[in-house]
Amino acid sequence: MKIKDVVLFCVRSLAGYPLRTGLMLLAMAIGVAAVVLLTSLGEGARRYVTDQFSSLGTHLLIVLPGRSETVGGPPPLLGQTPRDLTLSDAMSLKSSSAIHHVAPLMVGAAPVGHGHLIREVIVLGSTAELYIVRGLTMAQGRFIPTGDVNRAEALCVLGYKLKSELFGSDSPLGQFVRIADRRYRVVGVLSKKGQSLGFDMSDVAIIPVASASALFNRSSLFRIMVQASGREAIPKAKAAILKIIRERHDDEDDVTVITQDALLATFDRIFKSLTLAVAGIASISLAVAGILIMNVMLIAVSQRTAEVGLLKAVGTPGRQIQRLFLSEAAMLSLIGAGAGLLLAMGGKMVLIRIFPAFPVTIPYWAPAAAVGLALVSGLIFGVLPARRAARLDPVAALSRR
């Protein structure tokens, strides 16, 4: 039998029972769409995290107070700190040739006001180098000036959102804002930059680190951000940081250094396995669709008993009958998978509508894998009905009307 005739024969028999065929296609389509959509959600989450880390800046190392004992675990954001990380610790890091820029970071929350408007926002204490390390850009004015980091100058840089809330469309440059009970002159406004790692840089006020130290009455840093002199210099920079801090902290390793690459790699791994797990769960629905195909094909075989008997009478060997039914199952799977891919595309567009910030991307392997799985499950579950058809006794099959 020619392939074209096989296809035609299967199409005719599928079209002959539209409701049954439609239901099976629906099941297959939902299964395939689930696999594709869920994997693209996983992939989207992975990209989201990767993008977030990339937006932190390049060749970045983060020094946290406290020692993380477990390797590869999450950074000890709330770790016990035996010794504070101080501004002079941060400045001493500059002695290494592998380190280009160092930005100490002090974090606190304080009310920021102008006129009768007051907002409670995050106040960052840092130095001019934060601008480079975080890759910030200015909308207006300039950033915290370079100079003696120990001088508590009363000036500040506002995030874009904070500026709009306090000043509206007026220029804030040269004006004063109150942070807690002190007055600071506004020297610049950051341009719009999205969130990065939960830090909404548009809703902050940045003041010199010495001013922050005075404001919050505290000398310990939240963290130090370090930019290595190049990508290759990252391990060297890490070693240098650990060595310098150890010398300054009485020979104790009490800081944790996170490199962006390591962090990225970890998250990448986590999200990849997450995506695979989700895809695995989704493929269960494909197996369910396969079982449905099996059931319906079994019914089809018993409904088409007379037809199978006739095929045998006109000289079709059992193997050929088996092939015909298997081709039917395969075509069902393929058409269903095609419909599923369309469904997934539609679903993706809806998701993009609902979550515009979330990068929903269908990974290149997902459609291929889903279609492959659909085909395999259709064929596996098609074998039993096809064999049953092939083994039908023609006499019994033909004796029925």
């Binding site: 039998m1 005739d5 005719r12 002959g16 007379a306 006739l310 000289g315 006499v395 033909l398």
Partner: protein, 225 residues
């Protein structure tokens, strides 16, 4: 001899009971013969026809078809013989409802993998010969009983078999379309095909040159002329 049966035995299990549908049947049919098999229901005539058509295997005995022992052929080889040498005509036509008349006739050619242009030519010829040319595109449910049976006959003969096996071909038809169908079957016989027809209609059976009567799995009468 085109058909030679030797001591064919076929037993069915019905409940606890063993039913001997065929008992030591021996029968020879010459090429080009027109043979009717008659008998009451349960006499084994349909079983005999199924065995002749290789749809059923005897429990014992040997069946030579065109001097070839069919008893130890496998499924594929038997299908091959059915495809090329045997044409079936059934009481209930067994047309595939979703296919048009032409497609039903074409089915054996399609299954045999014959080239589409050649197929079309042969189908058109066959339909034309049976006066169904204007019914080619109709589905079985749009045809009368007589027309359906003629489509089935066109299908049975499309591969130019040497043997036509008919199982109550008029059993489901009114008198006039039954007559029509019998005319067609007899014209096949005149063209040289061997025709074996099972019927319990005595009038129909009498028309055959050779008449075999069966009873309880035995051939009780075999008359010619």
């Amino acid at each position: 001899m085109i058909i030679r049966l030797e001591r064919i035995e076929r037993t069915f299990q019905v409940g606890d009971e063993q039913v001997r549908a065929l008992r030591q049947i021996s029968l020879g049919v010459q090429a080009g013969e027109y043979l009717s098999i008659m008998g009451p229901s349960g006499s084994g005539k349909s079983t005999l026809l199924n065995i002749l058509g290789l749809l059923d295997r005897p429990d014992q005995g040997t069946y030579w078809l065109e001097e070839r022992n069919t008893t130890d052929l496998n499924d594929r080889q038997q299908a091959e013989i059915r495809r090329h040498r045997i044409g079936f005509i059934f009481q209930f036509f067994h047309l595939i409802p979703r296919l048009s008349a032409a497609e039903n006739v074409e089915l054996p050619l399609t299954l045999a993998g014959i080239d589409p242009t050649l197929r079309k030519q042969r189908v058109d010829q066959a339909l034309d010969r049976l006066g169904l040319a204007d019914r080619a595109k109709h589905r079985p449910d749009q045809l009368s009983g007589g027309q359906r049976q003629r489509v089935a006959i066109a299908r049975a003969t499309i591969m130019h078999p040497s043997i036509i096996l008919a199982d109550e071909p008029t059993g489901n038809l009114d008198r006039s379309s039954g007559n029509e169908v019998i005319q067609v079957v007899e014209s096949l016989h005149r063209e040289g095909m061997t025709v074996v027809m099972v019927t319990h209609d005595p009038e129909l059976g009498q028309r055959a040159r050779r008449r075999v009567k069966m009873m309880d799995g035995l051939i009780v009468e075999d008359r010619e002329g």
